[in-house]
């Protein structure tokens, strides 16, 4: 029976192609086995009682059995123990994989009805396709231009909502070269089921070649630098402290103090918010003169400006990512 099912062509197991995939599958099979066992025990008892105590002609009146406190305790405590084990196992995996490793390759993702826009840090852009190297942790910095989407790669056992107005992070480390489905898993309107694509996991060498073949004239940070000048950000955010805004060299990753004394880490979400809603993040020591750029910059452009701000204080942005070759 099982052999027949396995040969029937019906797939039973999605491909597992990431580091977390293997761990997750172990837990999944444990849960499946446990459920199967509990079903056998419960249904077995149910069927046994139903048959053994079926009504018979001239049967006697069943005895009065009110309750059994020891039994109630046993079948309360055993499920509690089982649940605690599952909770700890799953929460441990979840917690361990919550933060991407430092030094992950960063890729920007913008979801919009109904396509995926992706951009590599070196500037390569893709639509509904993502090319990544094998055995390297990949960190997606994601936002949406319209409604909520969800970046789901079944083979990596990972998904995360892509929410307008904020950044969400997703990361994975592919372990197998191949082509895998990318689905939008959060219902996003008419062509939700068309918002699909492919993730190509490539060998390091193929990836480097692909990156070189598709190299853009500028890196993401380079484009961001031009935008920074075009939008006249540099009028206020000068490299010395002479502007009316704070200098941004080394600002990314630092801690900003707000006028109410609250301290906030300057991360992608902080910069996003301050570009679109500057009055909500008044930084201490500076006048409130920054205008909102809502409607003037797209989500992709904000990500490029962020890439530029990140690069400030590191080395100058490379015009072309030739180092990859």
């Amino acid at each position: 029976m099982i052999a027949f099912l396995l040969q029937s062509g019906i797939p039973f197991r999605p491909e597992a192609a990431s580091t977390s995939g293997a761990h997750l599958d172990k837990l999944f099979y444990f849960l499946t086995g446990l459920s199967f066992l509990l079903c056998v025990l419960i249904f077995g008892t149910l069927v046994y009682f139903a048959v053994r105590y079926r009504r018979r002609p001239h049967g006697s009146v069943p005895p009065v059995i009110l309750q059994s406190i020891p039994l109630e305790i046993v079948w309360t405590v055993i499920p509690i123990i089982i649940n605690v084990v599952i909770f700890l196992w799953a929460a441990n995996l979840f917690f361990r994989d919550a933060e991407p490793p430092i030094g992950s390759t960063e890729i920007f993702v913008v979801g919009k009805q109904w396509m995926w826009h992706l951009q590599h840090a070196e500037g390569q852009r893709e639509i509904n396709e993502l090319h990544i190297p094998v055995n390297v942790p990949i960190k997606l910095i994601m936002t949406s231009q319209d409604v909520i989407h969800d970046f789901f790669v079944p083979a990596f056992r990972e998904k995360k909502d892509v929410v307008p107005g904020r950044y969400t992070l997703e990361w994975f480390q592919p372990t197998k070269i191949g082509r895998y489905h990318l689905f939008c898993a959060q219902y996003c309107g008419t062509l939700h089921s068309g918002m699909i694509g492919w993730v190509y996991v490539m060998s390091q060498k193929d990836y480097a070649e692909w990156m070189y073949r598709n190299r853009p004239s500028e890196s993401a940070a380079g484009v961001g630098q031009r935008l920074f000048a075009k939008l006249a950000c540099n009028n206020c955010h000068q490299t010395n402290r002479s502007g009316s805004g704070p200098p941004l060299t080394g600002a990314f990753g630092s801690v900003a103090t707000l006028q109410n004394g609250e301290r906030r880490e300057v991360d992608e979400g902080f910069i996003h918010q301050i570009i679109l809603n500057p009055t909500t993040l008044p930084v201490a020591g500076y006048p409130q003169v920054m205008p909102s750029f809502r409607g003037e910059v797209s989500e992709e452009e904000i990500l490029e400006i962020i890439a530029y701000i990140k690069s400030m204080g590191q080395e100058q942005p490379q015009p072309v990512a030739e180092g990859n070759q």
Binding site: F28, T45, A50, T76, L93, G165
Partner: protein
């Protein structure tokens, strides 16, 4: 719980059904039993509307590119299926029909505490359904039943306002029904009907009513906020206006997770009655089952965040919601064990209602166990928003709630109508529904694990085989649902008279009223002198 102090009155040929025949006497009735029938007719119609949408969806999924409709239509179909089935069938199903009919009789009262309010509930329900049906026939809604923002508040151009207004209005009908039940159980119990002599069905309806009253207003507020943003551009959920789209999910699930228990708790109450009646035994662990209903109602309010593990909510919030979700599974497991233990040394017969009850226990167990997969954080990351979730909640909602509803309708049908239905057909239907259900929804667990997302009008070709299996099962299931409609209506005219207690069951409704009951249920209010389910005094019906 029998023991009338007076001699049992003779059969009264005038009962609540034939006391008056005019349309007006139905539309202006304050008799809880007639109102139950008004609801039964309304929700049965709505069930087939929602079922029809499901059938079209399953047909469309026969082919990867979509066999019959455009994705836009498909989206409207699943939205309509969800809205109708959740708010206009499952939530009102058992409470407004069996609850309305039975609660006053089970506690030994002549009616609910507020009969006119009860009629008002039905009118509000009909008014709300009219809004929603208008939205559906005038072009449809494509937000999904969950109305997630900012899609629902800013992006779609369909009749969101009308559909939301329908759900908003219908919510008040739920609140009034819950209020009515709570007051009735507190204030209208017959002499001697102590809390721990109440049938477990009443306990479960009491727990359900508490959720009705506490949770439904939150839904009303949430829908109102969508209206404010959509109509007046007040920034609540839209980030461009300074709002937060995730806030909507918190508010929505704060109602909608407890609503899941509104759907399943009444079913658990029905099953407790059925298991006792058809094993001729007291329910094992009466208090454990009663208190677990209350525990479910309480814990149910603190697990909403498990719908949002991948929404970007904090890792720590996720862990707390996961732990609480595992906690809410415990009282459900306790119920399953107690029902199973009730069978021990019983005298078990397999009448149609019992087949539904056994089916319920099996399917609810599978649905509950797969709920553990979803409560487990890292597993949920993979299967969230896939067909795994669809399969899980259909095992609870359809395998659980609908099976219990049908079991209850079959059990109390002779009481409600005074007629017997053909038992062979009823058993056949129960088996067909069980088989069709499993064939429809089990393949969806596999689809979900393989990664097929929900709400997809089109899908990659490798998922086709399992989708075809599911659609085949749905055809069998659909047939199974049509059968009771036919033979139950048939029985109204041709069924033999049932007599007051054809199943020889305990309870005031069986022992102290005729079938169908008279308008005031009891000639004299009974005095209760013993516990529920005193089957040891009832003997055993002939085999």
């Amino acid at each position: 719980m029998s023991t009338a102090v007076v001699e049992r009155p003779l059969y009264n040929p005038v009962n609540y059904l034939n006391v008056k025949h005019t349309l007006k006497s139905w539309l202006l009735t304050t008799d809880h039993k007639r109102i139950a029938l008004l609801y039964l007719g309304s929700i049965t119609m709505l069930f087939f509307v929602g079922g029809f949408a499901a059938m079209l969806m399953r047909l469309n999924l026969l082919e990867p590119a979509g066999a019959i409709v455009h994705p836009e239509t498909y989206n409207k179909l699943f939205t309509m299926h969800g809205i109708v089935m959740v708010w206009f069938f499952l939530i009102p199903s058992i409470p407004t029909t069996l609850g309305n009919f039975l609660i006053p009789i089970m506690v030994g009262a002549r009616d609910l505490a507020f009969p006119k309010l009860n009629l008002l509930s039905w009118y509000i329900f009909i008014f709300g359904s009219a809004f929603t049906l208008y939205a559906l026939v005038s072009g449809g809604v494509d937000t999904g039943w969950t109305f997630y923002t900012p899609l629902s508040s800013l992006y779609v151009t369909t009749h969101v306002m009308a559909a939301a207004a329908g759900v908003f209005i219908t919510g008040f009908s739920s609140i009034l029904t819950g209020l009515n039940f709570i007051v009735t159980v507190h204030k209208m119990r017959a002499p001697g009907m102590t809390w721990f002599r109440l049938p477990l069905f009443v306990w479960s309806m009491y727990a359900t009513s508490v959720i009705f009253v506490l949770a439904t207003p939150v839904l009303a507020i949430t829908l109102l906020l969508i209206g404010l943003e959509r109509g007046l551009h007040v920034g609540i959920f839209d980030p461009a206006l300074g709002g937060d789209p995730i806030l909507f999910q918190h508010l929505f699930w704060f109602y909608s997770h407890p609503a899941v228990y509104i759907m399943i708790l009444p079913g658990m109450g029905v099953v407790s009655e059925l298991v006792a009646a058809f094993s001729r035994k007291r329910v094992f662990g009466y208090k454990a089952i009663g208190f677990s209903s209350m525990a479910i109602a309480l814990f149910g309010f603190f697990v909403w965040g498990h719908h949002m593990f991948v929404s970007g909510q904090s890792v720590y919030a996720g862990m707390v919601f996961s732990a609480l979700s595992f906690a809410v599974a415990i009282p459900s497991a306790i119920k399953v064990f107690n029902w199973t233990a009730t069978l021990y040394k019983g005298s078990i017969s397999f009448d149609a209602p019992m087949l539904y009850a056994l089916g319920f226990i099996g399917l609810f167990t599978i649905g509950g166990l797969t709920g553990l997969f979803l409560a487990a954080l890292s597993v949920d990351v993979h299967v969230h928003d896939t067909y795994f979730v669809i399969a899980h909640f259909h095992y609870i909602m359809v395998g659980g709630a609908v099976m219990a509803y049908l079991g209850g309708i079959h059990f109390w049908w002779p009481k409600i109508t005074g007629k017997l239905y053909p038992d062979v057909w009823a058993r056949l239907a129960a088996v067909i529904i069980f088989v069709g259900f499993n064939l429809t929804f089990f393949p969806q667990y596999l689809l979900g694990y393989l990664g097929m997302p929900r709400r997809y009008a089109m899908y990659p070709a490798e998922f086709q085989m399992l989708n075809v299996m599911s659609t085949a099962g749905a055809s069998i299931l659909g047939l199974g649902y049509l059968l009771p409609l036919v033979y139950l209506i048939w029985s109204l005219r041709y069924g033999p008279d049932a007599g007051p207690n054809p199943f020889l069951a305990t309870g005031l409704e069986w022992e102290e009223t005729q079938s169908p009951p008279t308008t005031h249920n009891f000639e004299e209010i009974p005095v209760v002198t013993q516990d529920a389910y005193a089957y040891e005094n009832m003997g055993i019906p002939n085999v």
